[in-house]
């Protein structure tokens, strides 16, 4: 109808509504952009990364195991030879048992490498979730990208891995017990027990056979 009253606030209201809608669209696009930056920075932690970690884990423990095996093999060989059992079925069986212990420990280390990789992966996933939360709260993709880089770098801080425990102690225990008993007997059978300075304490793994 004519002579209808005007609305001086109409334009202001429209501008305010459009501004609110635009700001909300920007906030959502900023969140999505931040998430993409997080995903990009964390893409380096792929299957290859964790495969390398497992290999590094095994590379840390396999040499220790190798050293222990060689040492145990030498002692077992010497002990069997001293008892005249090296070239026998009993000796072959003992050597086989030692070999099995060695192989079982290698596969066990491989399994622990999987577990350690899972632990790292879980920590990475937690960091990623934290960054997603920060990103949603801040809606600042530049700031989130900087924090994502710093947290991705902090994740590779070295862990403390304890050295390999004594693996072959049980395998050598019968030999060590025989050697100790022979040394304490009235007439030792083993040549090195017949002279001074034989094995050290059976609980020690640092003794060497001197022929």
């Amino acid at each position: 109808m004519c002579f209808g009253g005007g609305n001086d606030g109409s334009g202001e209201a429209r501008d305010a509504r459009l501004r609110a809608e635009a700001d909300e669209r920007y906030r959502k696009s900023a969140i999505i952009a931040g998430q993409k930056r997080i995903d990009t920075n964390f893409s380096q932690f792929d299957d290859g990364y964790f495969d390398n970690f497992r290999e590094d884990y095994k590379s840390n423990y396999f040499p220790q195991l190798e050293t222990q095996f060689n040492d145990a093999n030498d002692k077992l060989t010497a002990g069997l030879a001293g008892r005249g059992m090296l070239e026998s079925s009993v000796g072959a069986s003992r050597l086989g048992d030692l070999q099995k212990t060695y192989n079982d420990e290698r596969s066990s280390i491989g399994g622990k490498a999987f577990d350690a990789a899972q632990d790292i992966r879980a920590r990475i996933e937690n960091q990623k979730s934290n960054l997603y939360s920060y990103n949603t709260a801040a809606a600042d993709p530049q700031g989130v990208a900087a924090r994502a880089r710093s947290e991705a770098t902090a994740l590779v801080a070295p862990q403390a891995f304890s050295p390999l425990g004594q693996v072959f102690a049980s395998a050598l225990q019968p030999i060590a017990a025989f050697v100790s008993a022979d040394r304490n007997s009235v007439s030792p059978q083993l040549g090195f027990n017949q002279t001074s300075g034989g094995y050290s304490s059976p609980t020690s793994s640092s003794g060497r056979v001197i022929s």
């Binding site: 209808g4 109409s10 072959a92 192989n103 999987f114 577990d115």
Partner: protein, 227 residues
């Protein structure tokens, strides 16, 4: 003449007509304004409902996709892959030591070497079987760990959608108010003018107008007949 009695009620008729038309115009204007305001608010509401439905569909899609991965066929495949990966890694770690590595004397009978070789093969076989068993057992935890990673990713997606949904819903009242203000109009001035004019005409006619109208009362009429 005909203008005596007719002239008495004509202004009243005109006054009523003007007031009636003015009131009708004002009422129509107010109704139209109320309708426009309601339509503006409803438009925002419908837009918000469509947006919320979009969010709900997106979230449901993510959940359905993840639930599909929990199907028996999918779980069986996931477990099988985890087992194969672990078994390949653990069995490859097993070393094969040659029998000649054993320090035998040169005069050792061949049967001894054969016994040692047999013992080593037995050890290798048992270790390989042990590694396969270990891989199979560990694959259960591995597959559920991998499932947890995917669930975490799903959770992040759902959280983002919920954030968007809540912020949009929170803006609805303000957007409705602003949309209403955009279309709001005060009542029609023309209608108010007609109503006011009708009232003025009525007052003018009732007050005697231009010489016609009611006889003025004589305040001394009661005393004119004398005492």
């Amino acid at each position: 003449m005909c203008f005596g009695l007719e002239a008495a009620w004509l202004p009243a008729l005109i006054s009523a007509g003007l007031s009636g038309v003015g009131t009708a115009i004002s009422a129509n204007s107010a109704q139209k304004d109320a309708r426009n305001r309601a339509q503006a608010r409803n438009a925002q509401l419908i837009q918000q409902l469509d947006e919320q439905k979009g969010y709900a569909d997106e979230a449901r899609g993510l959940v359905d996709q993840r639930l599909e991965e929990y199907s028996p066929q999918s779980q069986s495949g996931t477990l099988g892959e985890a087992t194969q990966k672990r078994e390949a890694a653990l069995t490859s770690d097993i070393a094969q030591t040659a029998p000649s590595a054993t320090a035998l004397s040169g005069s050792a009978p061949k049967v001894v070497e054969s016994a040692i070789a047999s013992s080593m093969r037995k050890a290798l076989g048992e270790s390989t079987q042990q590694a396969q068993n270990q891989a199979k057992l560990g694959s259960y935890g591995q597959s559920w760990f991998d499932a947890g990673l995917k669930d975490a990713q799903l959770g992040r997606g759902i959280d983002t959608i919920n954030n968007f949904s809540k912020s949009s819903a929170g803006m609805l009242p303000s957007l409705q108010d602003l949309a209403e203000q955009e279309v709001a109009k005060p009542p029609s001035v023309f209608g108010q003018l007609l109503t006011g004019l009708g009232g003025a005409v009525g007052s003018f006619a009732g007050g005697g107008g231009f010489g016609g109208g009611a006889v003025k009362a004589d305040p001394w009429a009661g005393l004119r007949g004398g005492f």
